[in-house]
Symmetry: C2
């Protein structure tokens, strides 16, 4: 079960004026579940996106990049689960274009004004016929207060829907930020099979929105990892609807800090939610690496810990296995690391220094930390002032079960 994470409380996901969401059961892969979502944007909305770095990126990612680069205003987004339309070559691109065309026909706009997203099994042909047949249902059900329904619709192996709203006051006016995401397995820095959509009713010029998105992705979704794999379909989209009567048009604008803070808070919540609901997760783990010469080496150490199956199984077992932690640090690829300068904490407990256990180390103290559902592992590399934070989860029997049986 997800670690300290539940579905958004009823009514807690606030509408963003002008943005409407509709869903349908299209039977893309499984019957009797919502698997198709359309989000229609108001005229004048700006949209920014960041996408997977995987060289095998999915067809819809290719189209999103193409359409955003062209600078055409975006009129709507369409998301299906059950099928990722990835590893599908030219045929996959054609199918993704056909979905855009079908929705453009419904909305009486151009296909290039539609951003498509897919998540699910890879290398299977997208069943466009079932998507076509059910787009009208999405259109019919369009509503501004359907964010919770949308969060549920985009789930794959997620156990709970993920969403959060925040409000800030800018120029005496209320500005709302609402975000939803899906994740579960294959979550990794530089993203993974995650889809994230955050919208605000403030107006933000597209270039500024893109810069904000890049910065926010780097401290949220790019800092979470479940198993080190990066998916073909990761997409994180930021939308400024421009319907609140508030414009933030530069980093020095009076409302910038407040808006940025709200967007960041929602993004960090959603990113952490991915790890809390990682496949089979029983622990939510924060890894803080400080005292590095630069951010890159802090991240190396953080990832070495976050990706180690030996550490992840020890976390599952609530075992304060210091040796595996030190081995991962030693193994992170910092060639001139002086291990005698490294200090390691589990929660508040200083467990290792000078190349070995802290003299006062008592396993009971460390075991008490490890028994908790939320664990912080802190490393001081003792060689600089850079620091980075990553979030991850443990590896349980259920991780193997979910991933061994995913396609069956």
């Amino acid at each position: 079960m997800p670690v300290n994470l539940s579905a958004p409380a009823s009514g807690s996901l606030l509408p963003i004026r002008g943005i409407q969401l509709g869903v349908a059961e299209a039977h893309v892969r499984k019957a009797n579940r919502k698997d198709l979502m359309v989000m229609v944007l108001p005229e004048g909305a700006t949209v920014a996106g960041v996408f997977t770095q995987n060289r095998f990126c999915a067809a819809p990612v290719t189209l999103c990049r193409e359409f955003l680069a062209a600078g055409t205003p975006i009129r709507a987004l369409v998301v299906n689960t059950g099928n990722a339309n990835a590893g599908t070559g030219e045929d996959g691109l054609m199918r993704a274009r056909r979905v855009c065309e079908a929705l453009a026909f419904e909305l009486q706009c151009e296909p290039e004004e539609i951003l498509p997203f897919s998540t699910g099994v890879i290398m299977e042909a997208l069943p466009v016929d079932r998507i076509f047949l059910n787009l009208p249902t999405c259109i019919e059900t369009l509503a501004e207060d359907a964010w919770a329904l949308a969060a549920e619709t985009i789930m794959t192996t997620d156990i709970v829907p993920k969403g959060l709203s925040r409000q800030v006051t800018i120029d005496g006016k209320t500005v709302t930020v609402t975000g939803i995401a899906k994740g579960s397995g294959m979550i990794h820095p530089n993203m993974a099979t995650m889809l994230g959509y955050i919208a605000t009713d403030a107006a933000v010029p597209q270039p500024l929105l893109q810069r904000m998105l890049g910065e926010i992705a780097n401290v949220s979704f790019n800092r979470v990892t479940v198993d080190g794999d990066t998916s073909t379909n990761d997409s994180f989209i930021l939308i400024a609807a421009g319907t609140a009567g508030v414009t933030v048009d530069s980093e020095t604008a009076p409302g910038y800090a407040a808006l940025y803070g709200a967007l960041r808070e929602v993004a960090v919540f959603l990113a952490q939610a991915l790890a809390r609901d990682g496949e089979g997760a029983t622990k939510f783990v924060t890894i803080e690496v400080e005292g590095g010469r630069d951010a890159a080496e802090c991240l190396k150490v953080g990832k070495a810990i976050a990706h180690s199956p030996l550490i992840k199984t020890a976390l599952f077992a609530s075992d304060p296995n210091l040796g595996r932690l030190l081995a991962a640090i030693g193994n992170a690829g910092i060639a001139d690391l002086d291990v005698n300068g490294v200090r390691l904490w589990l929660g508040p407990v200083l467990v290792a220094e000078n190349g070995g256990r802290h003299p006062d180390y008592a396993e009971a103290d460390a075991a008490a930390v490890m028994k908790k559902a939320e664990i912080t592992i802190r490393v001081d590399l003792g060689r600089g002032s850079a620091h980075e934070t990553l979030w991850t989860c443990d590896f349980s029997y259920d991780y193997v079960k979910i991933n061994a049986e995913y396609r069956s």
Copy 2:
């Protein structure tokens, strides 16, 4: 259970004249199991070693490096299981030195003539008293035909002992090569908690022996990975006893190719045995990457596949999950990889090309390959002529179980 691997048949591990092995139950960590092994070398033997790249290397590794670098002849090796004497700081170094002193006293030699090895739990103080008390038993039981007993003694979570002998004829004389190894979890290119000892009765000058060892490690132990973690204690030792009346003193010597071939064959067998007996392994997987611009990028792709928990769980499930394979290839860090030039085979079946499934792909064919206990995944990157081979195993429920419960 190990994949197509059983303990060496009785009598199949051939003695190396002049090398004697003795074992004892020292109760380093658990009672009633052999956990201490001494190997005494004949005068004139040469010894070469390669060791873990982990910055947190264990105390015995530090001493081995120091003693080998000093060039003193090596008189004996001492190996304990149950405790790795790693992450133990200055105290650990002192304890490792004391073990060398104790054995040197028994053998009437200098402590610097003893190479110490430890494997087992990390960050616990080595119980030197129990080792001291049981070294005499090792000495009393010294025998030339005790390689099988030694292979059994050095095991930790290994299910079967690992050993192989080969004989070649050089200058009309029989030259024997015998090797043993232990591994199981934490096996990784650049080594892991693996100990490997290969000996021959040929005479080889130390500098040449060291070069041979480096080359052989690179095509054997450095090509096997279970979970991507690298241990603090990895050691691979090559011994030339010089008792066969045959000397191989250069790469151009008449017997070089035969000796190198036999050493390499034993090393590759032992390296593959580590993956066959990987923790919880149910599949033995060979990953062949060809068509790369250089070896480095072939290895990147091979490791991306070998380390992906999503692929390893799919292997466990016998699921031909092509998408996870393509995603791992796309994710290997080759920035300019043209995915349309990549081809992928499962066993003999060409399953993917041109960025998607092969047109003739039939899942039944791929499923038949995946059902086998030994699976070959072959990738052609289509951009050069470099190729590399790696060996790994799958991730099963038992991997989680073994590693979650290791210390309990």
